[in-house]
């Protein structure tokens, strides 16, 4: 029976059209996200990195969703935990570490924003801010722009479940629904908004229930199951590209870390909860799957882990030694500096 399960499970990624190389890539990206994250906590405790926002527990949701998109043309409006998403779209470990160290070379903001505030035109990642959920209408605007240009890209926006209670979620989703725009609304529901548990945030069973009010499908998916996340996101992307409009996806995740490096979650999380949640550690689950289907051998696993460790070391060293911005850089980029006709000088 172990055999047949393995075969059944094996069918899973192949059925989804994912090659062995691809799932290994997914595994590697999850692992890289996790390991970079763990490193930033160490750096934070060592006083080298002033702030950390974690992706731990949400890597399957992030990497699974990102793999379902087209890295060559789709647009992202990620949120602060989405290291897993931006890594898949090409942001390098060095770039993420430059971001954590707030170095001049950081492509996200040149050290201007807190870590986790992603952005990069070359990756089609729209710069994000701290006030939650503002990115939702932006994603709708990107999709609208694509539609007006006759492009077939999809616009992907992610946010926490707490953030889905902001007006901007409602207004953005409704706009996309009315205009049937190619947007994927991706909610990473880790059941906490800082200290506030799900039951004090929303009264519906699933954030996906909200889609009905906007006239498009809502899907809830196990966010620890990377292949399921891939599957539903791929379906949403296909729908969107076919011109059938938006989808709301809720990925049910866990938050393994405190909200941020400034938070102490012991005051509000039941003892033992995190440990229990870690049963569903997406990394471990995917590792197990890949071994069961014999795509990941012990040797390969070792190689991947070694290579990821090297990448993390290299990124840390590179970023730590990179130059900070110049003080006067503070004055740059408030407005465009060179003019076109009629422009500010």
């Amino acid at each position: 029976m172990g055999e047949s399960t393995a075969v059944l499970v094996e069918k899973k990624h192949r059925t989804l059209g994912l090659s062995d190389e691809q799932v290994l890539g997914m595994y590697r990206d999850m692992l890289l996200a996790r390991k970079l994250d763990e490193r930033t906590w160490l750096l934070n405790r060592a006083g080298k990195v002033p702030f950390v926002l974690s992706c731990q527990g949400q890597e399957a949701a992030q990497v699974g969703a990102a793999y379902a998109l087209d890295k060559e043309k789709d647009y992202l409006c990620p949120y602060y935990r989405d290291a897993g998403v931006v890594l898949v779209f090409g942001m390098t470990a060095r770039e993420l570490m430059l971001n954590s160290f707030a170095r001049a070379e950081d492509p996200n903001s040149g050290g201007r924003q807190m870590p986790g505030h992603f952005g990069g035109k070359k990756y089609r990642i729209l710069s994000g801010s701290s006030p939650v959920t503002t990115q939702v209408p932006h994603a709708v605007g990107l999709a609208l722009a694509g539609r007006m240009e006759g492009k077939d890209f999809v616009s992907f926006v992610s946010f926490g479940e707490g953030s889905s209670n902001q007006g901007d979620f409602h207004e953005g989703a409704n706009f996309a629904g009315v205009h049937k725009l190619p947007v994927i609304f991706f909610c990473e529901n880790n059941r906490y908004a800082i200290s506030v548990p799900y039951s004090k945030q929303v009264a519906c069973e699933s954030i996906a229930d909200r889609a009905q009010g906007y006239g498009f499908p809502g899907v809830s998916v196990d966010g620890s199951d990377i292949l399921e996340v891939y599957r539903v996101t791929k379906e949403a992307a296909d729908r969107a590209r076919r011109g059938e409009g938006p989808t709301l996806i809720e990925a049910r995740c866990f938050r393994f870390s405190p909200h941020s490096s400034d938070d102490d979650d012991r005051s509000y999380r039941p003892e033992g909860e995190v440990e229990e949640d870690k049963q569903y550690d997406p990394l471990r689950l995917f590792n197990r799957y890949l071994k069961e289907v014999e795509v990941l051998t012990d040797k390969l696993e070792q190689e991947i882990h070694d290579s990821v460790a090297k990448i993390v070391d290299d990124a840390t060293e590179y970023a730590e030694n990179a130059a900070p911005p110049q003080p006067e850089d503070t004055l740059k980029h408030v407005y465009a500096e060179t003019g076109r006709d009629g422009k500010w000088q």
Binding site: S129, G141, L142, H170
Partner: protein, 327 residues
Amino acid sequence: MAVISYIEAINQALREEMDRDQKVFILGEDVGLKGGVFKTTEGLYDRFGSERVLDTPLAESAIVGVGIGAAAYGFKPVAEIQFADFIMPAVNQIVSEAAKMRYRSNGDWNCPMVVRAPYGGGVHGGPYHSQCIEAMFCNVPGLKVVAPSTPYDMKGLLKSSIRDDDPVLFLEHKRCYRLIKGDVPEKDYIVPIGKADVKREGEDITVISFGLTLHFALQAAERLAKDGYSAHILDLRTLYPLDKEAILEAARKTGKVLIVHEDNKEGGIGGEVAAMIAEECLFELDAPIKRLGAPDVPAGPFNGVMEKFYMLNPDKIYEAMRELADF
């Protein structure tokens, strides 16, 4: 040159810019089929279609937020807020997002969009269709705030704003829409953002204003001229960042300054104008820097008697000008 109204200048600027650049599009409530509640977008839906003149759901934060996404992509959205009073739900998108997009991304992304908003009183609009909202936005680096007073400036500044690479909050005084008429060239021209303009040369006192009260001040200046005093009148045109050089020059010109705006006096942008002068050319002044604004109560009671009491008019401005001239 043709004589057109302030509102016609808006309509022309929009049409010409949309003809000129396929990336320009309009979005807002009732801007399409209806042509806007004031008819500023009249005829554009027929000419450019429902995609480029987009009737949106009733949700200002989305109107601006969706515009930001499209602008970041490379479009040039012109978002209409139906009444400036209703911009409040969009403050987060304007201040936290549009204005900071360039800065926070270290110049990687930008947000070339215009947010048009009809403001001001004198139209029996009550407390929510009468407000001046500029003060709220004239402290937001990354944003520009433009408020033309004449059809010529309107057309030229709206064009500049649409062509600008950064977000512009574009304020139109709704009482001026059909009241104010003026010469406008037939051919394409622009008026630069960031430059104030002397609307009347004079020697005795300097009046600094914009919008409806600028016209009131011009009227008052005629009356004052009969008293033998000549007023120098500066139209700010851009409210943020202010044209400091022009302000100081105008202040120095006569040494007596009166700042006039329709907004409440305390916290109105007159404070910044006065402060610039008091910081840079205090010893060139011959009189205290005077300000005239609305009483510090919520703008625009609906009842006509109260509205009249609340609003400035040429007489009230004349009194203040005369007093300063006599000083």
